[in-house]
């Protein structure tokens, strides 16, 4: 086991060097030609980048060592069940947990409570948002089982979002699109994606490249539609008052 751990650390190390060195070089060039920050501040920024790099090496090797293989194992296991609803329920459960536990989602809920001057309570929003992502992960798993093309789900979703853009409250629009990012945290991206790929790989006649991906996109779409709809509700209520 130690051998595989060292090997994944080595791979992650090479990857991180390639990822982060260009950014550091750019900062140093910018510092020399434009910023001319005092050297103490430069050292602090460089120290921060060193932490970032060390953290990334650990994170990436952990993901490749354990998260992705475990997720794929789970996907293959539940994907080969005769009762297909099991895979869908596992997806719903994991989708709910990933969103409910994500600190960035809580920050977003608080923002919405403020933007709606308390009309939309952050706790209510947290539950409904987690449920929304859970449902979309369930749909994503069902899509893999019944081999529904992603475009049949995502394009109506996007059209709905465009429609809501023009009827939703203005303050909610910016929040909603940034919200798409908060639910796609590291758990969703690494783990749920791996489960989907594992499940797609055991489906008869399925193509993991076509069926296994797409889940992150669905997860990103859920909060957008959800927050925009809240914006419509809020606007209607404001209209009633005025």
């Amino acid at each position: 086991m130690i051998g595989t751990v060292l090997n994944s650390l080595r791979h992650a190390f090479i990857d991180v060097i390639q990822a982060i060195v260009p950014l550091i070089l750019f900062f140093l060039l910018f510092q020399v030609f434009h910023l001319r920050y005092p050297s103490r501040q430069v050292m602090k920024i460089l120290l921060g980048m060193a932490f970032t790099a060390v953290g990334m090496v650990l994170f990436l090797s952990g993901v490749f060592l354990g998260f992705l293989p475990t997720g794929q194992d789970m996907g293959r296991f539940f994907g080969s069940y005769e009762e297909k609803w099991v895979l869908i329920s596992v997806g719903v459960l994991l989708g709910f947990l990933a969103t409910f536990a994500e600190p960035a989602v809580r920050v977003l809920c608080y923002q919405v409570e403020k933007a709606s001057t308390g009309y939309i309570k952050s706790s209510l929003m947290l539950y409904t948002l987690s449920l929304g992502v859970a449902v979309l992960v369930g749909i994503g798993m069902a899509r893999i089982i019944y081999e529904i093309p992603l475009s049949h789900i995502i394009i109506p979703g996007y059209l709905l979002a465009i429609l809501l853009l023009f009827v939703s409250d203005r303050d909610f629009i910016g929040i909603s699109f940034d919200a798409g990012g908060v639910a796609t945290g590291p758990m969703a991206v690494t783990f749920l994606m791996a489960v989907a790929i594992g499940a797609a790989s055991v489906m008869e006649g399925g193509d993991p490249l076509v069926d296994g991906f797409g889940l992150i996109a669905l997860i990103a779409l859920a909060p957008i539609i959800f927050v925009l709809s809240l914006g419509v509700l809020f606007r209607l209520r404001k209209g009633d008052d005025g």
């Binding site: 595989t4 751990v5 990857d15 950014l23 910018f30 434009h34 910023l35 501040q41 602090k44 920024i45 120290l47 921060g48 060193a50 932490f51 970032t52 060390v54 953290g55 990334m56 090496v57 650990l58 994170f59 952990g62 993901v63 490749f64 060592l65 998260f67 475990t70 194992d73 789970m74 947990l97 409910f100 536990a101 600190p103 093309p149 992603l150 475009s151 979002a161 853009l165 303050d171 629009i173 909603s176 699109f177 940034d178 919200a179 990012g181 796609t184 590291p186 991206v189 994606m193 791996a194 490249l209 076509v210 069926d211 296994g212 991906f213 797409g214 992150i216 996109a217 990103a220 957008i224």
Partner: protein, 231 residues
């Protein structure tokens, strides 16, 4: 610095532990995974938690001040060309370094059996983010309503999706989701608020919002176009 690390660790543990517990229970009682697999999973949970905490701390003391410094410098100069070039460079490079992008692209390449080149994917994604953040900046400068920009680019995504080969369709939409990760988000926000705060009559709040969401449309188009050109 210890405080920053503790806060980051707390946040990371909150987001990782619930799912990891459920996964552990499933491994133990349903799948019956062998002990070495379970040990590897537990080790990887610890590595991910520690690694992500270090990463977040590093972003806070390194990337954020850097983004704010460069954002402020951009606005002070008042040159649109300078703004466009530097914004593009920095968001391009930050996207290349985004952990979520590293994970997604290497997974795609592995699943495709090396048919889809990882570097081509990373470059398409980073180009998409770079160009769309530049457009967002110009939107702040020229005060274009955000709805029109979103609606137009979403329509473009829908139209292009009919020409995208099926192998590239799902991964292009996923690429949009992963760019809004822990590296690019703070950096883009710092740049945006830096620019908006120096421009007269722009609110840092309503103009700063929406940058991230818009940035994530770029990679969808980038990877779709990659698919169209390669097939």
């Amino acid at each position: 610095m210890r405080e920053i690390f503790k806060d980051a660790l707390k946040e990371v543990v909150q987001s990782i532990v619930p799912i990891s517990l459920v996964v552990l229970l499933i491994q133990l009682f349903l799948i019956g995974s062998p002990a070495d697999k379970i040990a590897t999973f537990l080790l990887s949970v610890v590595m991910v938690a520690l690694g992500f905490s270090f990463f977040l701390m590093g972003v806070k003391i390194g990337m954020l001040p850097m983004g704010e410094a460069i954002g402020g410098e951009l606005a002070k100069r008042g040159s649109i060309i300078f703004l466009v070039v530097v914004t593009f460079m920095i968001t391009f490079l930050a996207t290349v370094a985004e952990p979520d992008v590293r994970v997604l692209t290497s997974t795609i390449t592995a699943v495709s059996g090396d048919l889809i080149s990882r570097s081509a994917l990373i470059i398409s994604i980073a180009l998409g983010v770079g160009i769309f953040v530049v457009l967002s900046m110009l939107r702040i400068v020229y005060n274009v309503p955000i709805q029109y920009l979103y609606a137009a680019s979403y329509l473009l995504v829908i139209v292009l999706s009919f020409f995208t080969p099926p192998d590239y369709l799902a991964i292009s939409f996923d690429s949009g989701g992963v760019t809004t990760g822990p590296m690019t988000v703070p950096l883009i926000l710092a740049l945006g608020t830096g620019v908006a705060s120096v421009m007269a009559g722009r609110s840092a709040l309503s103009d700063g919002f929406g940058l991230i969401g818009f940035a994530s449309i770029g990679p969808i188009l980038g990877v779709m176009l990659l698919g169209v050109f390669l097939s």
